[in-house]
């Protein structure tokens, strides 16, 4: 479960050694865009040795690998042997990519006696959005992650603060993720010094149905966590509902503050309680 994810460049020892400290639900160690071609080796070595030997690791570890079509992918996934990686983040996901990744991972799991590797799909092309329903049901996937910047490049449009240009993509990601019971993750907000902009952007994403947001700087985490956590009012409400549902377990339907409470609402309350517990808010 995520509210927040933090990108850390794979070749940056200062960031790496504090990765466990940042208040994020997951850290994404990046071997792809944040690492130049000639440093791919170096970054991979660093992340590998860090994962193998560090005594303090983030709560959840995500590794962004290079494209399945690149010469680096095969080397990148070898880091799975450290057994410290919870998810691979697969860039430029589409139907064909999912298929290729599946084949490579099936083989890799068999050879190395590993359990099924969980994935997060980074959807950052028009094709990825169009084909989303074809790959979103893959059992490996735990989340769909919208990459707004690359998508805008693909569409040859500008990213704006209104987010009008990614509204459709956001909605597709949200619908597809929720329909498949996995988490929709929103694109990072790139203006790292704009606190108000980040808050607005996060709230907008949440309203649409995003359940988490990625960040590119640790200082963004506080706002993201706040926006994507259940509020204290919500938690209080959920507590009441869950308590009353237990008291009225034989009836199934009951009233709360003049409103009818039935099964879907009880489930919603349970989800909120579950989230609040996961995120350490209660």
């Amino acid at each position: 479960m995520f509210r927040s994810l933090l990108f850390i460049p794979g070749n940056n020892p200062s960031m790496l050694q504090n990765a466990d400290v940042f208040l994020t639900d997951a850290v994404i160690f990046d071997l792809e865009d944040a690492v130049s071609i000639k440093e791919k080796h170096n970054a991979r070595n660093l992340v590998k040795n860090y994962l193998q030997t560090s005594t303090v690791l983030p709560k959840q570890v995500v590794l962004r690998v290079n494209s399945v079509d690149s010469i680096y992918f095969g080397e990148d996934i070898k880091l799975l042997k450290t057994k410290k990686i919870d998810y691979l983040l697969i860039p430029k996901m589409n139907k064909e990519t999912m298929h290729k990744v599946d084949i490579v991972l099936n083989d890799f799991e068999r050879k190395n006696n590993l359990e099924q590797i969980k994935l997060i799909a980074l959807i950052e092309t028009a094709q990825g959005i169009n084909e989303i329903d074809y790959f979103a049901e893959n059992k490996r996937l735990s989340a769909l992650f919208l990459g707004g910047e690359d998508l805008a490049n693909d569409l040859e449009i500008k990213r704006t603060d209104s987010n009008n240009e990614i509204h459709y993509a956001r909605s597709r990601v949200i619908f597809s993720a929720v329909a498949n019971g996995i988490i929709p993750i929103d694109t990072p907000y790139t203006d790292i010094n704009n606190v108000e902009g980040l808050r607005k952007d996060s709230e907008q994403a949440k309203e649409l149905g995003m359940k988490a947001k990625a960040s590119i700087h640790p200082n963004q985490l506080e706002i993201i966590n706040e926006v994507f956590s259940p509020s204290m009012d919500e938690i209080d409400w959920a507590r009441d509902i869950v308590r009353l549902s237990k008291e009225n377990s034989d009836i199934g339907v009951f009233q709360y503050k003049g409103k009818m409470i039935d099964k879907p609402i009880i489930e919603k309350a349970e989800k909120i309680i579950n989230k609040a517990k996961q995120f350490g808010i209660m």
Binding site: P13, S14, L46, N49, Y50
Partner: protein, 84 residues
Amino acid sequence: MKGIAGSKESNDCLITIESANSTTIEINSIVGAFFYDQIMETVKETLAENNITNVKVIVDDKGALDYTIKSRLLTAIERMKEDV
């Protein structure tokens, strides 16, 4: 043959390795007073694990942890091997 990896950023190190007639290891570290022995141990271990002998290694350390030193050295070794 020569390989260089890493940087002089804080918490990183710059490692240079080149073939030589015997093995020498030079460590310049801002935390040498506290960790010289440990850095030396990491370098020796990594060389041994990779069966590397007869090299001159220079470690310019800015407070890197052991896994960083090891990683930089591994990359430097790979680069040395590619440098023909």
